[in-house]
């Protein structure tokens, strides 16, 4: 896959950085003419992954580090969000809708990520941290144009 552009963002696990992360990714993604609805969906997916890192990975502690890498390939946007927090012991269970360790959170984070992105991969190990990869395929017309140019 041909690399078009990449950015990396490292920030503390503070709630105010959720907005920073989603706005940075949406701005990065405007380079390839995603439509507004796609950009909204990308923003929600990033918000969910970063919120999970803060709330679950670092259990709300504001001193953890979250690393976000956004890569634009010829045909897709790939976003990787990583933390070095407590990790998820039972990943299969965590990915089920309605599962949350916090009664006020709805367990919808992964539901939204899966609904709004074309691919969601989660790697996690207890005590090691969590890595979430989100992929959004570029709009069809643009993908065809890129293939013609390559």
């Amino acid at each position: 896959m041909r690399l078009r552009n990449r950015m990396k963002l490292e920030f503390l696990s503070r709630p105010e950085n959720v907005s920073l992360a989603r706005v940075a990714v949406a701005t990065f993604a405007t380079e390839v003419d995603f439509n507004l609805s796609d950009l909204e969906e990308i923003k929600v997916a990033v918000s969910e992954a970063v919120s999970n890192a803060i709330v679950h990975g670092y259990e709300g502690k504001p001193t953890g580090t979250v690393l976000l890498t956004a890569t634009l390939y010829q045909n897709e946007l790939e976003i990787v969000i990583e933390d070095r927090g407590r990790g998820i012991a039972d990943l299969a269970r965590a990915l089920q809708p309605g599962t949350s360790s916090d009664p006020e959170r709805m367990g919808l984070g992964f539901v939204f990520m899966k609904s709004f992105m074309d691919e969601v991969d989660v790697w996690s190990e207890a005590g090691q941290g969590t890595r979430v990869k989100l992929v959004k395929t570029l709009p069809g017309e643009l993908r065809a144009q890129n293939l013609a140019e390559s």
Partner: protein
């Protein structure tokens, strides 16, 4: 993000403006719960007309208040949902629990 909270009869009207995410969630939860207690309201109406972004943290605040209010025999309603928020509300399933109205007066009529 800002909250405007006003009591009308038995209902606490909560007008949410801006980004309803993790950063806003804690403050909103505390503020609404405190006002529910001090102002003695039975129902809550969430006016989402000013919301520019919402994710599961914001939805969690609404659902948490729904659980609290309905345990005490009250009702919750949502009004003025902007188009960009509609899809995520529907996808979350929250609209199966909480009725959605076009504006505050229609919602207040139902809550009365």
């Amino acid at each position: 993000m800002s909250l405007e909270v006003q009591k009308q009869h038995d209902t606490l009207i909560v007008r949410v403006c801006g980004e309803f995410d993790l950063r806003a969630a804690d403050y909103c939860r505390r503020d609404i719960d405190q006002k529910l207690k001090t102002q003695g309201a039975k129902h809550i109406l969430f006016n989402l007309g000013g919301v520019t972004f919402i994710d599961s943290s914001g939805l969690g605040v609404i659902l948490g208040r729904y659980r609290k209010v309905t345990e005490n025999g009250g009702k919750v309603a949502i009004s003025n949902v902007p188009p960009r928020v509609t899809r995520i509300l529907e996808l979350s399933g929250i609209t199966r629990l909480i009725p959605v109205y076009a504006n505050e007066s229609l919602a207040l009529k139902e809550l009365a």
